[in-house]
Amino acid sequence: MASSRNISLSRCVDRVTGGVLALFALVSGGTVLLLLWNLFAGAWPAIEAGRLGAFFTDAKWQPGSQRDPQFGMVTMLAGSALVTVLAVALALPVGLASAIFHRFYAPPLLARWNRRIMELLIGVPSVIFGFWGLMVVVPAILRIAPGTPGQSLLAGGVVLALMILPLIALTSQAALQAVPSSLLQAAAGLGLGRARTIVSVALPAARGGITTGVFLGLARALGETMAVVLVCGNIPQIPGSLFDPIRPITSTIALEMGYATASHKALLFCAGLVLMLCTALLVGWISFRKNAANPGIGGA
């Protein structure tokens, strides 16, 4: 009978395993740096040439033009912002109402199915939403407002809203579910009705979670490409009405990267950087608020 063979071997193996895993972890954590570095490298020619200012001062976006090249991103920033806000504005009431229904009114079976549908819907590829928008939403808008192009801010907003609806509904559900039942019992003990309890007790208590969902929705809508590129019309302009076409930043990159050369390409990388900065701010804000709420946690 043997024992303590290679205990020191075990130690060596542990060292090696730990080293390999640490390497994996560093690669995983470092990917974002690599990504940033490559974006910067791609954008550098434009930054070096001092085009970044033109981003905000030029009126138009015509980077390929020989006679009068212009590099104004404002129209596209506006397009992104408008369609994102519109999407959240449409999705929030519906998502929140369905979450309230799910938490306080729906019989268990219905609630289960509601949740299940949302979980399935959250996985539907955005290109399918975009395609469906093109086939269904755009014609519907044409019927409502004949004479407009159909592909428009409104179409983009509706399609994006549909896409982030499950996200907002599920996060709101989770937030409402997390309201301590002792709080609801206290409300019941005070003789508050169900509606009063929801409005005055549950919603305020769940506000943090719901806000997180809204921010996630904003970040998701802002970063979305496929759903908007197919339905927004892709004309870089400040829209005068809901029915005017727009062109968000993501669409610009998707549409032009294929043929862009040299300085034009660098500008598209700048656009990518701007996009990344905006979503990072939104996501960063979420984790900042989370850490402020419970500072003990955090870390790994």
Binding site: A25, V136, T250, V283
Partner: protein, 289 residues
């Protein structure tokens, strides 16, 4: 019990209003989902046949089938998982078992992964194009596309694996330590098998994410519709096919619908599998303890 009828009635009205609004919203979601599926089935089903799955792409996608597209999609998925699974699980294991919780390195890695989770997919596309296709010289290829997607689903895998490891019974680790088991043995023979359900669910969700992705593939795996012969060939993913047919090919919508229907079916299958798996394992855990 004394109630005050005048004070109660407005609350009753409010209650009814909330109930109606909520029911309406829930129904609306059901309805929209049903509408979307119904449209895809209505538009896409007529063209679905065996030859659709087995045929070459013809006439820029207006005719023929999607066999090369399916093969490319699988190839991209394979590359993606081949990189993301070892990297993601390895990173999670390191964070949860091999490094002190809350140490500077752990925080750094964790926040790097979190940041990655917030990057828009088109930006991943830009990154993949520069780094994998150009710097590493992989070109527009299935490999480039798969590796780009791997970076994209990495945070998801790290998170799910981490959660799975952290929710293991607390007495498992002391039990192993008390027997003088090395960290390697503890991790790979005890913890990973026990955490496997959660890890598998995470991978399944990752597969769903990878299958749905389009923007990150536009400039990495390319548009070629030929049957790929190796991972270094360019290949068009199913989602990119739908996008191209819808945007760039006149009269492409019928075939786009069929492709979209196939993609939707795949995604729903994968995601339902994840839901079913997690429910199954939840039930087993709760009945075991």
């Amino acid at each position: 019990m004394i109630t005050h009828p005048i004070r109660r009635s407005p609350s009753k009205g409010l209650d009814l209003a909330i109930a109606l609004a909520g029911a309406f919203a829930a129904l609306l979601s059901f309805f929209l989902f049903g509408w979307l599926v119904w449209d895809l089935v209505r538009l896409g089903l007529p063209k679905l046949s065996w030859s659709f799955f087995s045929g070459e792409v013809e006439d820029a996608g207006r005719g023929g089938g999607i066999a090369p597209i399916l093969v490319s999609t699988l190839g991209i998925l394979a590359c993606c998982l081949g990189l993301a699974i070892p990297l993601g699980t390895g990173c999670a294991i390191w964070l949860s078992e091999f490094v002190r919780r809350g140490s500077a390195w752990a925080r750094l890695v964790a926040s790097g992964v979190d940041l990655l989770a917030g990057v828009p997919s088109i930006v991943f596309g830009l990154f993949g194009m520069v780094f994998f296709a150009q710097t590493l010289g992989l070109g527009f290829s299935i490999l480039s596309g798969g590796l780009t997607l791997a970076c994209m689903i990495l945070p998801l895998l790290v998170r799910t694996t981490l959660t799975a490891l952290e929710s293991l019974p607390a007495d498992l680790r002391p039990a192993a330590a008390g027997l003088g088991l090395s960290k390697t043995t503890t991790t790979f023979r005890l913890l990973l098998p026990a955490a496997l359900p959660g890890i598998v669910i995470g991978i399944t969700l990752g597969v769903g994410r990878a299958l749905s992705e389009t923007a990150a593939l536009l400039f990495t795996s390319g548009y070629s519709t030929r049957m790929p012969e190796s991972f270094s060939d360019s290949g068009r993913a199913l989602s990119v096919h739908i996008y191209d047919l819808a945007l760039n090919v006149a009269n492409g919508s019928a075939m786009a619908s069929s492709s979209a229907l196939v993609l939707l079916a795949l995604i729903l299958l994968v995601n339902s599998a994840a839901v079913a798996l997690s429910e199954h394992w939840l039930r087993r855990r709760s009945s075991a303890s």
